[in-house]
């Protein structure tokens, strides 16, 4: 389970996550988050989930990180603050975070799903994922697809009525 590549990836993800919180410059934080996304994608690939890994890379690095960049630049957050970013009550945040993590970790350890009977490792192909999406999980796929298409068309319609000459 704990192999060399996994340790390297875990270190990369943790360093990136800490950097994303600790960096002073917001743009540096966004870049650190992008490193975390790449690390997570690599972790999926290391588990043999090719489709999930590349999809993670495509969606999170290609879209979510860019969205964060836009948010930072459009809110004029790109300037470096004079002093540290931490608010006085930061230790409360750490305590609550640690408590939530402990609770989740405990729940996962207790769950029977965490200790499955040892099964032969299956190689899931993209074709199997596609078949599952089209047969067993077709309703979820259709609902998601409808929602996303509606959002896309909605965005176009909002842009279409720009209220005449300005």
């Amino acid at each position: 389970m704990v192999t060399g590549p996994f340790l390297i990836l875990a270190a990369l993800i943790l360093v990136g996550a800490v950097a994303a919180v600790r960096m002073r410059n917001l743009v540096h934080c966004v870049l650190a988050v992008a490193v975390v996304f790449v690390g997570l994608a690599a972790a999926y690939l290391q588990l043999g989930a090719q489709f999930v890994g590349w999809a993670q890379m495509l969606i999170y690095v290609g879209a979510v990180a860019i969205l964060l960049v836009f948010a930072v630049l459009l809110t004029r957050g790109g300037e470096v603050p004079e002093r540290a970013l931490f608010s006085p009550g930061w230790h409360w945040g750490v305590t609550i975070g640690a408590a939530v993590f402990a609770l989740l970790a405990w729940a996962i350890r207790q769950s029977p799903a965490a200790h499955p009977p040892p099964a032969a490792p299956v190689q899931v192909t993209v074709e199997q994922i596609g078949t599952a999406l089209m047969t067993h999980d077709v309703l979820a796929l259709e609902v998601t697809g409808l929602l996303l298409t509606a959002a896309l068309i909605g965005a176009v319609i909002i842009a279409m009525n720009d209220g005449g000459p300005q």
């Binding site: 870049l31 992008a34 290609g62 860019i66 960049v69 790109g78 176009v156 842009a159």
Partner: protein, 394 residues
């Protein structure tokens, strides 16, 4: 197949067998990978040099001038001169720049541009890795370029660079959607995401009509949409607003000089080659000949001929079309390209569902032409073309 066709594959096997006697067993995969990668690292930068020369000559001819004609015969040594010039120039980094990010941007751009070549099939049995989700890999790695462009523009601490980066990111993210959606049709019909498998799906049949995907209604529409989106992704004219010289000087790489600038140049052309090669693979039959008779020509010759044809198309487009305005660019992406690609997905589904026969040709062609004319008319009406009025700042 014939010996010439598999020449490079045989050569690699021969070299690997020679190495097996000298190197330990554990090194075999590494040597095998290196033998596949090093030719790519040689061929595509060479193609870059040739392409720059062809482009400057071609643009020169279109603009009624000679183009480079001083260095070597027909200016053929111009790329070498440019390379030496870039190498011996001073590397200037602005004092206010973010040094690490400023340095990282060109390096990451070239690295990712080379990485996508891993899944492209250049000939029969000539692919570095046959990934099952190859197409997804191509787009996943390609999206890093957006972040890199932003890194370059932001770290320069220059308003033109930042403006150029914002324009580039907005443009690339808008055209990424039609780019991916136009390839979805091919995935639907071929039933696979692996690029070598997609090429096999276009093997020449015995009939008189080639089996390339571009020779179907949805494929023709998809190929044109793909080329337009690829042109925009590569930030080339008429979509070169991010680096528009007359407006924002050179956009996001204004503060790059010397070899870093050359790396940006290299990275841009490498991604252009990669996306053209992807277009060839998806729509133009990859390394296949159109007919069985043409199969005696080696597969890699077919591939590179098609690649050069697509690149010539890009040069032609760059020489003849004027630059768009920012609002026209966005309108075109969101009000024409995306609806058209979505309709094309439905058309491809119909094509698959109706089954072979003249009916599907009639229905799908009518749908493509109808959708094109309706959307185009809508775009023209939304444009409200009228004489332009200019306002000057007081």
């Amino acid at each position: 197949m014939s010996g010439v066709d598999q020449l490079f594959v045989q050569l690699k096997h021969w070299a690997l067998a020679r190495c097996a006697g000298i190197l330990p067993e554990a090194w075999q995969p590494l040597v095998s990978l290196l033998l596949s990668i090093i030719p790519l690292l040689v061929i595509f930068p060479t193609l870059f040099a040739a392409m720059v020369w062809m482009e400057r000559k071609g643009l020169g001819r279109i603009q009624n001038r000679y183009g480079p004609n001083r260095v070597g015969p027909f200016g053929l040594l111009q790329p070498a001169a440019d390379g030496i010039k870039a190498l011996i120039k001073e590397d200037i980094v602005p004092r206010a720049a973010d040094r690490v990010v400023h340095w990282l941007a060109p390096v990451l751009l070239v690295t990712t541009a080379f990485t996508v070549y891993a899944v492209l099939p250049f000939g029969r049995n000539m692919v570095v890795v046959d990934l099952e989700a190859g197409l997804l890999f191509f787009f996943a790695v390609g999206t890093v370029a957006e972040l890199v462009v932003f890194m370059a523009g932001w770290s320069s601490r220059n308003k033109y660079a930042l403006l150029g980066a914002m324009r580039a990111v907005a443009q690339m993210i808008s055209y990424e959607i039609p780019l991916v959606l136009s390839t979805v049709t091919v995935v639907m019909i071929a039933g696979t995401l692996s690029l070598p498998q997609i090429v096999l799906a276009q093997s020449p049949a015995s009939g008189w009509w080639p089996a390339w995907f571009v020779f179907t209604p949805w494929g023709a529409a998809g190929f044109v949409l793909f080329l337009i989106a690829a042109n925009a992704e590569a930030n080339r004219s008429p979509f070169d607003l991010p680096e528009g010289e007359s407006e924002i000087i050179a956009g996001y790489f204004i503060e790059y000089s010397g070899f870093k600038f050359a790396l940006f140049f290299l990275g841009e052309y490498l991604s252009l080659f990669a996306v053209s090669a992807l277009g060839v693979t998806l729509f133009l039959g990859g390394w296949h000949a159109p007919y069985v008779v043409g199969e005696w020509v080696p597969s890699w010759v077919w591939f590179f001929l098609k690649l050069l044809a697509v690149l010539a198309l890009f040069i032609w487009t760059r020489g003849t079309l004027p630059r768009l305005r920012q609002d026209q660019l966005m309108n075109f992406a969101w009000k024409f390209m995306i609806p058209m690609t979505l309709i094309n997905v439905v058309i491809a589904a119909l094509w698959h569902w109706i089954g072979s026969g003249p009916v599907r040709w009639l229905v799908c062609s009518a749908l493509v032409i109808g959708a094109y004319s309706l959307l185009g008319r809508g775009l023209m009406r939304a444009g409200r073309w009228m004489p332009r009025t200019y306002r000057f700042a007081e």
